[in-house]
């Protein structure tokens, strides 16, 4: 039911003199604005915002929304993204006035309910990670990485060690090297093994007293659990370095194994993934970190502490760790997302949380099996919560690429998997079904893929056919970027 008129650029819907939100007249004694603010500071004209009425705005954005696929509407097996269902109770409860209208500088005694929630969230994440000290401060996974690396840097500085290198496998997510570089470390990228795992020799070859941190995603990007993770950690610890676990794939191992138990010293959670954020078309997220005891004093500020013993003072308060690296952002953190994670964990409990991973892994293995005849998975007979299939065979035999399949899936009413990542798999199709999808959906998706690989390749090269647009020209976009609407450009 498309309405292309309403989906025109906002600016083309505007008309001079139209009003949306209006404000009341001033009720304080009238004084001219120039008497309050120096004239030189006052703008001669108004910002050139479009003039729209409320119905324009609603019709525009509601129509735009229908041009999206989303978890609420479609199966969205995007690998590495954990596109699980976002429970509606979270949206309702996160809107409670006592939570949503709370100013971040409200004094602790007037924010005890919020602090209780955040304290309990810290405790739960410590338990899930097996790492006792938690900071809820970072805004997203990448900021969690940066924060943890700065914690490590502070720790080493404090110990008088000059460690400059951060190591990571070639399959590492882009944020790992980017965060390391931003934190002032030198980046060392390690080649992986033929099995898609860490190559221990390669790791050993790069280790010395300048090695600060080894960053590893586990389960890794191929959906495999590093079987040697214990040894890797020992090797790293032996040279005095630290192990960072990128927790983006925690959905596979909740209640099964814990980063703290397999040698991790620091980790981040992606609350917007594992604990069902939701993703918000790109954000917001929350990237809390958990670290070992000896790193606790370096955590960024603030953390929530609970007063022990009987006291007539309020139970919870914000504190600054003794050797804190300081703040990484303003205010406490992305509380709205942390809250949703808290609600999720309180809903599931220990058993429910473990069932999340069990079902996520079962779903992934089932889908992998269903697709193995047409899109085999080169690495591993079994996978964790996701797997990377390859379209190389259909590409060779029928000239149908991973991209063709991905685009054509949209016509069938499915979001595409992640394609061409990781690079180690040719014609990669990285699929993460998550636990909140049914067997029926997985079967329908697998059936669609089977149909697609039998379709006319030429037809597939031009897919998708049912969407409003098909195969945008990225090159043109980047060569002469048009990054904002301008009257002439329309």
């Amino acid at each position: 039911m498309r309405n292309l008129l309403a989906a025109k650029p906002l600016f083309e819907l505007a008309h001079a003199g139209r009003r949306g939100c209006t404000f009341p007249a001033s009720d304080v004694p009238e004084r001219s604005i120039e008497a309050l603010v120096p004239k030189s500071q006052i703008s001669a004209s108004l910002p050139e915002l479009p003039e729209l009425a409320e119905p324009d705005v609603i019709r525009h954005f509601v129509n735009l929304s229908t041009l999206n696929m989303s978890v609420d509407t479609h199966f969205y097996p995007l690998g590495s993204c954990t596109m699980k269902y976002n429970p509606k109770r979270h949206e309702r409860l996160a809107r409670l006035p006592g939570l949503v209208d709370l100013h971040p500088y409200q004094v602790d005694e007037a924010a005890q309910g919020m602090l209780a929630i955040l304290f309990e969230m810290q405790e739960m994440l410590a338990e899930i990670s097996g790492l006792p000290a938690v900071s809820l401060h970072p805004a997203a996974g990448a900021q969690g990485e940066l924060t943890a690396l700065l914690v490590a840097a502070a720790y080493f500085r404090d110990k008088g060690q000059h460690r400059t290198k951060v190591l990571f496998p070639a399959s590492a997510h882009g944020t790992n090297p980017a965060s390391a570089a931003l934190a002032g470390f030198e980046c060392v990228q390690l080649k992986g093994s033929a099995h898609g795992l860490v190559d221990l020799e390669e790791l050993n070859a790069h280790l010395d007293e300048t090695a600060a941190v080894f960053m590893i995603t586990n389960p890794n990007t191929l959906g495999l659990f590093e079987p040697e993770i214990g040894r890797i950690a020992r090797i790293m610890h032996d040279v005095g370095g630290l192990v960072y676990i990128d927790g983006a794939n925690m959905n596979a191992i909740l209640g099964i194994t814990r980063p703290g138990d397999f040698g991790g010293d620091m980790m981040h959670f992606n609350v917007h993934k594992t604990f069902t954020g939701p993703h918000g078309a790109g954000g917001p997220g929350a990237g809390p970190i958990a670290v070992r005891d000896f790193l606790a004093d370096y955590l960024p500020a603030p953390v929530v502490a609970r007063r022990g013993g009987a006291s007539d003072k309020p139970a919870y308060r914000l504190t600054v760790p003794s050797k804190s690296i300081g703040r990484m952002r303003t205010f406490f953190g992305n509380v709205g997302i942390l809250l949703r994670g808290y609600l999720y964990l309180r809903t599931l409990g220990a058993e429910g949380l473990k069932a999340v991973s069990e079902n996520a892994v079962l779903n992934a293995n089932y889908l992998m099996t269903r697709l193995s005849d047409v899109l085999p998975t080169p690495h591993g007979k079994r996978c964790m919560h996701e797997f990377v299939a390859s379209a190389r065979a259909v590409q060779k035999e029928r000239g149908i690429s991973a991209m063709d399949i991905a685009k054509r899936l949209l016509d069938y009413g499915f979001h595409a998997p992640t394609v061409y990542f990781p690079l180690v798999v040719p014609e990669a199709m990285m699929m993460e079904p998550t636990e909140t999808e049914s067997k029926e959906t997985l079967d329908a998706f697998a059936d669609a893929i089977h149909k697609i690989v039998a379709e006319d390749p030429k037809f597939l090269h031009e897919a998708p056919h049912s969407t409003l647009v098909s195969r945008p020209d990225d090159v043109q976009a980047a060569r002469k970027p048009i990054l904002k609407w301008e009257p002439s450009a329309s």
Binding site: F23, L64, D72, L93, G255, I256, F262, R346
Partner: protein, 449 residues
């Protein structure tokens, strides 16, 4: 287990298809010595009804919402949020979608973010905007890092003491493992002393960071500051208040090279500090050096106009350690809030809101400073926020106000050394368009004015 789909019978079927005896077998790759041999110790699960009851009790323990009157500031403000903004971001197709990498399945988000970029450019008078950063503080840091890349100067960043102390602290943390010097210029009079600024800047300086209106609420001389930076080849980075642009001159007007902001005022609730919106705008010529996602317009296979993520070569997933930032997940949904907010208020609404804030803040300042022992900390023009010194102590006045149903603050002592002892008897007061004369009068009366 409301969210798990597969029933025991389905799980059996699936295991059979996979060729596994049990779900446990699927976890064989996890070495036995790593396995957790006990159940996690978490609070017991709650049904939706129980969860609602429990969380409502906790929410009720916060002093917020309901009959409170909020005059708190310091970077987060109790501005009015039209219901239509909530409606837009409540669309499942927006809030449960991923980053719009798959363009054909994401034209809705892509177009909305393109519109966000366009609106922010118009709001600020700047050339280009990215599609959002985490929040105001990290936007400042990202701007400083970009300035280093642009100028090739990695040794020195100058920031005014009148900049939000948390912004400064973030910058300090971000620089903590680098060799770059962070120079903070004191502003004892509440705003920059131009002579000091001039002295501090040199040809090693990557950028000058200032805030306008600044943390104390006072207006700086932005044009002068931008000129001083330019004169030594440094970038001027301003942190602005979006609502103020309904009244004050725009960063583009006064020559800022980079203009960043906390976008919370644009339709985002206070929610104890986040998620908020980092606005990031700059000159066109920095486009390939700027951080964060960008949406661009292009055409599709058959020439239809459409939108895509573009210039991704700057970003971590392509450029890795050479990326212009490590940001990946950004603040998309908050950018959408700002887009809806700006669309609704339009130029006239923004002006009304800004003028109301300004008028009411001045009225409040007048009323509150008539209370014995309470005076303005700085003799400077301000916009919607001001700093009061209280002979009786900051905490005392906050408490008295709170007991009467009014929330003021923060007390500047909260910021410790980042603000310093000289202002430890000071509090911030911010007045938005939501406040009424009656409330201000009642507050003054409650405080003994």
């Amino acid at each position: 287990m409301t969210y798990l789909f597969n029933t025991p019978d389905q799980r059996r079927e699936m295991l059979q298809a996979v060729g596994a005896q049990s779900i446990d077998e699927l976890f064989d790759q996890v070495p036995a010595d790593c396995r957790l041999s006990r159940a996690l110790e978490l609070p017991s699960p709650l049904t939706e009804m129980e969860l609602e009851r429990e969380v409502s009790v906790l929410a009720g323990r916060n002093v917020a919402g309901g009959k409170r009157v909020c005059l708190m500031g310091g970077g987060v403000y109790d501005h009015f949020i039209p219901a239509a903004v909530d409606e837009v971001v409540s669309r499942g197709e927006f809030y449960t979608a991923y980053t719009p990498y798959q363009a054909e399945a994401s034209q809705g988000s892509l177009q909305a973010f393109f519109e966000y970029q366009s609106l922010v450019c118009r709001l600020t008078g700047m050339d280009i905007s990215n599609a959002s950063m985490y929040e105001g503080g990290t936007s400042v840091s990202e701007a400083a890092f970009m300035a280093m890349r642009v100028t090739g100067r990695h040794d020195k960043v100058v920031v005014l003491g009148s900049v939000n102390p948390e912004y400064r602290e973030v910058l300090r943390s971000y620089l903590s493992n680098l060799k770059c010097e962070l120079v903070v210029l004191p502003t004892p009079e509440g705003t920059a002393q131009l002579a000091d600024v001039k002295k501090a800047l040199d040809d090693k300086t990557a950028c000058l960071v200032f805030q306008h209106p600044n943390f104390f609420g006072c207006l700086e001389e932005p044009e002068e500051l931008a000129r001083l930076a330019r004169s030594v080849g440094a970038l001027s980075i301003v942190a602005f208040d979006p609502i103020s642009l309904g009244l004050l001159r725009r960063p583009g007007d006064y020559g800022a090279d980079v203009a960043v902001a906390e976008g919370q005022s644009l339709g985002i609730p206070m929610q104890y500090g986040g998620p908020f919106l980092g606005i990031f705008t700059c000159r066109e010529k920095f486009v390939r050096k700027m951080p964060g996602r960008l949406v661009g317009r292009t055409t599709d296979r058959i020439g239809r106009p459409c939108y895509v993520l573009t210039l991704q070569a700057r970003e971590q997933h392509i450029r890795r350690e050479k990326a212009t930032s490590n940001i990946c997940t950004n603040q998309g949904l908050l950018a959408l809030r700002a887009t809806a907010y700006l669309s609704l208020v339009g130029p006239q609404g923004l002006k009304e809101a800004a003028e109301l804030c300004c008028r009411k803040a001045h009225y409040a300042a007048e009323r509150l400073t008539s209370i014995p022992g309470v005076k303005l900390a700085f003799d400077r023009p301000f916009f919607k926020e001001f700093t009061l010194r209280c002979t009786g102590g900051a905490e005392a006045i906050l408490l008295k106000a709170r007991q009467a149903g009014f929330d003021l603050g923060p007390s500047l002592s909260r910021f410790g050394t980042a603000i310093g002892d000289s202002l430890k008897d000071a509090v911030l007061v911010a007045v938005t368009e939501k406040r009424t004369k009656r409330e201000i009068d009642d507050l003054a009366a409650a405080l003994g004015g």
